[in-house]
């Protein structure tokens, strides 16, 4: 015989199952979507953002070193230049300001990682496995009830089983995906203004990086052009020709450097576009065209981010 305690245990369990069935059925009213494509797109966005942040942070961290190296170079080249040791000892950017960037990008990486993790969660597959085991256990129980003890079939446990049995695995998967999609949409919506702010701030930092490096190259070319004129005036042909070669190399290097740095800024433009499209999709009716637009923009961003990241790594490998 079942004890009173067992019967009492069966009642809240039945209520919990009924509640779960209702919650899940309500959630099923959410907009259907091709969730696997959405999952892949979020994963692509996550990877591309990670690559963009890595490259951008590396350049930002280089600002202090570039300035210090420039000061040392000027001191080496100009014997009359006054040495201000404070300039060498004190970096232009404070450690706190650099840490603020590091922390922000660490949180941004966490955010995109969590988006990707939640999108890629195997909850619906685990539900399917668990519900299959539950259904088998429930069937066995009902069979036992009707075969060996028909009088026990009137116990509340048979009622408790029924809500769970009404949820098919197909429906459950859609329900879990819809619930998950709504959580993703809500998070994207909530983080959007802050992410737009971060992007705008990072843009200013990167513009600083580009101009900082380019102005140094302009100075170098100008100095070389003056040295060329001096050699020309003195009739020193070997020096004049050497300076001409140097000027040519520096002009080419400046051009290449600008293209590389501008590509980082273009990646940031595409990050903005991809993030905007994620936000638009979160707010949309999730029609096929909405999904198509999202996929196209994110893929474009991912391809550029991958290219810039590879070029950055190659440049790093070459210089090390």
């Amino acid at each position: 015989m079942l004890s009173k305690a067992d019967r009492r245990a069966a009642t809240p369990f039945r209520q919990a199952l009924s509640g779960l069935a209702l919650t899940l059925l309500l959630a099923a009213c959410g907009t259907p979507r091709d969730f696997s494509v959405y999952q892949e797109t979020i994963a692509e966005f996550q990877k591309a953002t990670d690559q963009t942040a890595t490259v951008a942070l590396e350049y930002v961290h280089g600002i202090n070193d570039v300035e210090r190296e420039n000061e040392l170079k000027l001191l080496r080249e100009d014997p009359d230049r006054l040495l201000d040791a404070r300039k060498l000892a004190t970096p232009v950017l404070t450690a706190e300001a650099l840490r603020a960037r590091d922390r922000t990008f660490s949180v941004l990486k966490q955010y995109t990682q969590m988006l990707a993790d939640l999108a890629d969660s195997d909850a619906s597959e685990r539900w399917k496995a668990a519900s299959e085991r539950t259904a088998a256990a429930a069937e066995l129980l009902i069979e036992d009830l009707s075969n060996v003890a028909p009088s026990l079939a009137s116990l509340p446990i048979t009622d408790a089983i029924s809500p769970l049995r009404t949820i098919s695995n197909v429906i459950a998967k859609e329900i879990i995906d819809a619930k998950r999609a709504r959580a993703l949409d809500a998070a994207i919506e909530k983080a959007a203004p802050a992410i737009q702010d971060i992007s705008a701030l990072l843009r200013e930092d990167l513009e600083f990086v580009i101009q900082q490096r380019d102005t140094l190259k302009q100075q170098e070319i100008s100095q070389l052009s003056i040295e060329y004129a001096q050699a020309q005036q003195l009739g020193n042909e070997p020096v004049r020709l050497a300076k001409l070669r140097e000027i040519d190399q520096k002009i080419r290097a400046r051009k290449e450097g600008l293209i590389t740095l501008q590509s980082v800024l273009q990646t940031l433009d595409q990050f903005d576009a991809a993030h905007d499209s994620l936000l638009r999709y979160a707010r949309s009716d999730k029609g096929p065209q909405d999904l198509y637009d999202l996929v196209a923009i994110v893929r474009n961003y991912a391809a550029t981010a991958e290219e810039v990241f590879a070029a950055f790594k190659k440049a790093g490998d070459a210089s090390s």
């Binding site: 960037r101 519900s131 036992d144 802050a194 930092d205």
Partner: protein
């Protein structure tokens, strides 16, 4: 906001002035000594520009912190949603155990009746 804009405008003017100086310092029609003087002046302008940019960079740390806090909130929400999905699955997993337990109890009850 106006102060930030003014600073940005000053920074841009400085950078433009630097560009003009460098440009002139490369003009072959200007005497060499004057070209060198123009380049030296351009270097000074650049140093001032870097100082202003660095000040902006260091000041922006607070804005980054503010944005970071907002994104952290979204991360917390995502963690919560992930946990909720796990909890749903756990209910199904627990249901299996409960049905097994009830079946076991049922068989014990039948044995006792027989």
């Amino acid at each position: 906001m106006p102060a930030t804009k003014a600073t940005k405008s000053v920074r841009k003017k400085l950078l433009d002035a630097f560009g003009e100086m460098v440009d002139k310092s490369m003009d072959p029609n200007i005497p060499i000594a004057q070209r060198q003087a123009l380049l030296n002046r351009a270097q000074e302008l650049r140093t001032q520009w870097v100082e202003l940019e660095a000040a902006r960079f260091n000041k922006d740390a607070a804005a980054f912190q503010k944005a970071q806090d907002k994104v952290s909130e979204a991360v917390t929400d995502l963690r919560k949603a992930t946990k909720e999905l796990d909890d749903i699955v756990k209910i199904a997993e627990k249901a299996t155990k409960v049905f097994g337990l009830v079946d076991k109890l049922l068989k014990q009850a039948v044995k006792a009746l027989v």
